[in-house]
Structures are given as C-alpha cells and as structure tokens.
Amino acid sequence: MGTVVLQNVWKHYGKVEAVKDLSLTCNDGEFLAVLGPSGCGKSSTLRMIAGLEKATRGTIAIDGQVVNDLEPRHRDIAMAFEAYALYPHLTAFENIAFPLRIRGASSSEVEAKVRDIAGILDIVDVLDRLPRNLSGGQQQRISFARAMVRSARVYLMDEPLSHLDAKQRSQLRSELKRLHQLRGLTIVFVTHDQIEAMAMADRIAVMDHGVLQQLATPKEVFNKPANLFVADFVGEPPMNLLDVKVEMDGAAAVLVGNGYTIRLSDARLVEAAGQVAGSEAVFGMRPLHIQFGLGARDDALPGESLVRAEVVAFEGLGDTAVLTAKLNGSMIRIETAPENRTEPGDIITMRLNPRYMHLFDKETERNLFH
C-alpha cells in the first residue's frame, strides 16, 4: 500500500517560495513523474515527501496518515538519489543486503531478495565485487537495487539515472518501468528529462516556478498540453509556436501571422478561437503532427488548413528527418521520414489537421483548443 496525498503544500526558503500551493495525489501502485526545469520545485517536493524538508504550510499524507511531523525513518519510504553512496568496504551483495540486515531479516530471506533484485537489474555476475571494481553504471545499479530490495510503501527517486551514459540510462529506464509494473510499486520520480518522464510514468506532474502546471498521462501532456509552458517544455524537437492575431470571418476563424494566414473551419476550434477574437494568441503544432505535400495545393480535406511554405533545410537523422520551412519570417519545423526528402527552395503545402492544433491565450497562456 502506498498512496501519497499533498494538500495545499507550500515551501518557503526565507523569501523564496520554492513550492506554491501544491496539491496532488500519487495513487497506490502508481508511477508519478514530477517533471520540470531546474529550480521548479520538484526536488523540494520530493524532499518534503521524504521528510528531509519540512513543509511550510499544507499537509502531506501517506496512506491517509499525515506525516508532516514524522521523521524520515518512520515514514516507511525508500529513496534512490542521483549520487550513489555505496559502502566501499562492502561487496555489491552486502551493499544491497544492508537495508534488509538492519531490519533483522533472516539470511535466507536476504539471499532470496538480493538475488531476485540483482536478476532484474542484471548485476548477478558482479555481486561479489567491491564498489571500486565496478563501473559507474554498475554502481548505479547496485545503489538502485539497494533502494528497491526492501518493501516500502513508497519509493522516492531524484534523477537516479542522470549520471549514466545514454545507453545505460535507456536500459535502466526499461528495467525500472518493468519492476514497477510487475510489482505494483508506488513510485514518485523526479526528473528534468521529459523523455524519461514520458517513457516510465503513469502520470506526469509538470512543474514550473513552484507551481503545478499540469497533472496528466504522458499522452495527454504531449497531445493536450494545458498551457504554453507545458507545450514548450515537452517534445523534441520542440513544438512550433507562432505569434498570431485572431480574427473572425463568418463561420471561420483566421489566424493572421507575420505575412501568412491560417484559416480554421473546424467548428469546435472556431468557437474556441472566438474567445480571443481580435486579440493576440500563440498558435502551436508539434513537428511530428504536420503533414506536407510538395508544391502548391488547394485540395483541403474538411477541417484541414493548408499553408504554403518554402523549404530552408532538410536534416536526415537516420530513423527520422527534420525539415525546416520558412513561413514568411517564421521558421517551422516538421518531423518526417528520411524518404520524404525535399531541397532548400522547394515550395511545400503543409496540411494542418485540426486534431493536432493548439491555440494559447497570449495573456493567460492557457490552451484554448484542449
């Protein structure tokens, strides 16, 4: 069991408000990623759940019990941090066994549990070694195994993969997600890496400047970002964002940009755009969601908007390619297959599907389309 509930939690460091009125729930058996840039308050949040920091205001409850005043060791949580402090004089096996031994586990139980977690993390062959005889990646796995070996209500992790090279990181990412799903563990995982959050989490809490921006599944965060910050922070290459003015034209809405227009005919979008008629807004579309054809075309499908642009660059990246096109003064990135090669100077027609369009209120930065 492990349900974590934060209610109206604030954290002040002197005058600095690191976490502002944060309310969120990590359900039993859920993998919750807390995602944001450095300084967004994600680590402070985790440290308050762990009991390493006191909440200035608000309540933190684990399984219905308010833990604000409980010492970390009384909260029944396990922690894995970026830096792996292994005991240098103990073998990998004894390092992993440590949390079990201090809790008085029998030697047969220790043996079984250590072997089990070592098998999952692929470190069975190095259990006899001392830390100094292990690679950085192996040490990280040992540290991970030590955090995961005992059962706890909640597992808290602060960027535990950040010191690994790309390959080890993606490997351990897969293993951690499996471990979570197979065992039904409750995990709160802090990261600045959106790929990590997307890949592993059931839900993502996106934070910026101490404020929760969105709490949703990875797909929702990607496809229906709540506001401009989330749209911009998540996705690689990042979402195309264009400054436009919203004008109404009968049953259509027209987004007037710098020397180009995007005509919206989809009824739902026209209505939503109407909320900011006559005002400035930001139009957004992800590079992956823009279809295009070569040459000038006028064969729009119902709801679709066609916009012409000139190819500036085409970068083949192996599995994918990134096309950059010029829309008068603005640049648009399109992610496509390497086979769809175009040359600088080519005219393309972008086919914008209403399903993938975003329009952000310039003032509130809220996503009006989702």
Binding site: S174, K177, Q194, I195, D232, P237, P238, A313, G318
Partner: protein, 366 residues
Amino acid sequence: MAEVVLKNVNKKYGQLEAIKDLSFLCREGEFVVMLGPSGAGKTTTLKMIAGLEKVTSGSVFIDGREVNDLEPRQRNVAMVFENYALYPQSTVYENLASPLRAAGETGDVLDGRVHQIAEMLQIDKLLDRKPSQLSGGQQQRVSFGRALCKDAQVYLMDEPLTHLDAKLRHEMRRELRRIHGEFGTTTLYVTHDFREAMALADRVIVLMAGEVHQIGTPSQIYNEPANEAVADLIGEPPMNVIRCELRQDSGKLMFTSMDMCMPVPGTLLAAVSKLPGKGEVHMGIRPTHITVYHDRSQAGIDAIRAEVYVLEPLGGVAVLTVKIGQSLVKIRVSDEFEARIGDSVWVEFAHDRLHAFDAATGLRVG
C-alpha cells in the same frame, strides 16, 4: 580555404595510446564530423590539428604543408569550443573586431568585415551590447563570429552545441549548416551526438578508442555501418543485434536462435555463406524496420512470436521492447500501440533491411 590531411598519426600519453595510426582527408570546403563516445580521442585529434597537442608520430598537413612543428597561430586555424570565451567587459562589436585587429586590419575594412559577419549571424542589432546582456544562443553566435573573423583556412569545433537547450541546439545546428554553405569553410566538428553528425556532416569519421571505425557519408554510416560498434552508435534506440546460428532447413539457409527461425534473405545469402566458423552470425536490424502485430493472422508467414518486455511512450512515437528467446529487441511503434508486459505479439523484420555481422570480428558482411 584548405584541405586537412592526417597521415598515420599516433598520440601517446605515457603508455596510453590515445590515437592509433589515424589517417584521413578533409577536403577543401568540406564539413567533416568526428563522431565517437567520450574517450574516443576526438578532442585530442582536433588539438593536434590546431597545434595545441604534438603528434607522437605521423604528419598533419594543412593546405598541402606539413604543420607538425608550427605554432598554433602559424597554422591559420580557428577553434570554437563548447564554452564560448568572450571578453566580458567588451561589446559584441569589440569582441568581433579584436581578432581582426590582431591580424592587422584597421579602419573601414575592419568595420565592414565586422558588420558583414554580424549580419550573417543575425547579431547586427546586438553590436553595442555586452556579453552579459545576451542569451546563451546569442553568445554562442558571437563566439562563432569571432572564429569567422579570424578568416582562418580551417575551422575546428569541439562540441559547440552541447550546453544549449533543445530549441537553441536545433536552431544553431541549422544555422551552422547555413553559415558553412555561405562561407564554404573547411570545417572539422567533434561530437558524441549522432544526430548532430547526421544533420551536419558531408562526411562522418567514426572514432572509437583512438581508432577509425568508418569514414563515410551520413547515409553510408546509417545504412552500411562497417561493424557492430558503428551500428550501435547510430540511432535512438540503436540497431538490434541478435546472436544467431546458420542452419539448413529443407534446403533453405535459416537464421536460428532460441525461439526464432527465419530464412536468410537472398540479398545476404552469398555474404553469409562465406562466413568462417561454426555458422555463428549476428543479425542486425534497426528498430524502425520491424513491424509488430497483435494478431498472427495479420502478420506474414515469416513473422516471429515474441513476448512484450516493456512499452515506453516517447511522445508521438513509442519504443516497444520484446523478448525473442534470450534477446531483447527494440521496435519503434506509434504511440497508439498498446500492450502489456507478457503479451504475445508477432514481429516481422523488413528483409531488405537485415544486416549480417561476422560473430567473431563484428564486421558487417552484408
């Protein structure tokens, strides 16, 4: 502009051989990217060309002239580093002008050149500002501008985009290509990021542990990797490599491993039959060249049964890892794809995208 040639270059630090018998040619006006993991010897190579490190043996030629014994400033190269060293107390204009002054330029010529380069880099409106008033990307551009102001024969760049955020990195990558197009400068660029190499290079030199593994166009490096190590360096996730045995089955040569058996495609037959040893072979396929089905009836006859290991959505796309026998195989799927750990699925490899590697040497044979 000039060509750069390295001939049998070795570099030792005490017992450690950092660079082993390195030879390559960077043509006049070419954009060559040196790609490799950390510790490959990329920066060392760049420094030997710049004259910041001495070669232990072998020769470095710039524009046909051996430069082994020349001082850095006599080599006429410009270097751009990861961290852009600008004069903090000077304006952008002065930062750009100082290398020109050092080269003896004055008056209108100097002024004209500064403005020309500032325009090219789209920093002409920032000339009065100090570095502290610039964004990271703008500082990066000023740093490039300084290098360009040197009017060098060769530009050397060491991971110049590493510390930029994703958006700026994309912008600067495109910008770099554009600048190269306009100036036609001979450029040697070092990175550990395969995307940068693919996007920027006319040709890529793959360097690992001080040795060249392959020199080729981005397309050659991706489609015809010289060996397993190169295949493993390109792509996110990189190429899957599955240990197999070759077996004859009713007259057909088959790739077989635990729980897998599929015919060797015609295109690979000749190369695979010549392999020495007991018929061991490593089969390679990229994650994007595998199709996965929930239902056997949708899949072709050569489809292989696999067990879902984990599914990771990455925004728009997802990576599905499946287990085939003892091998974990990664597949790029749409983020609409759904599966649970332990599900049975059917996977189909694109036959024309299969590679075969010699199990003993790792060399690609087809």
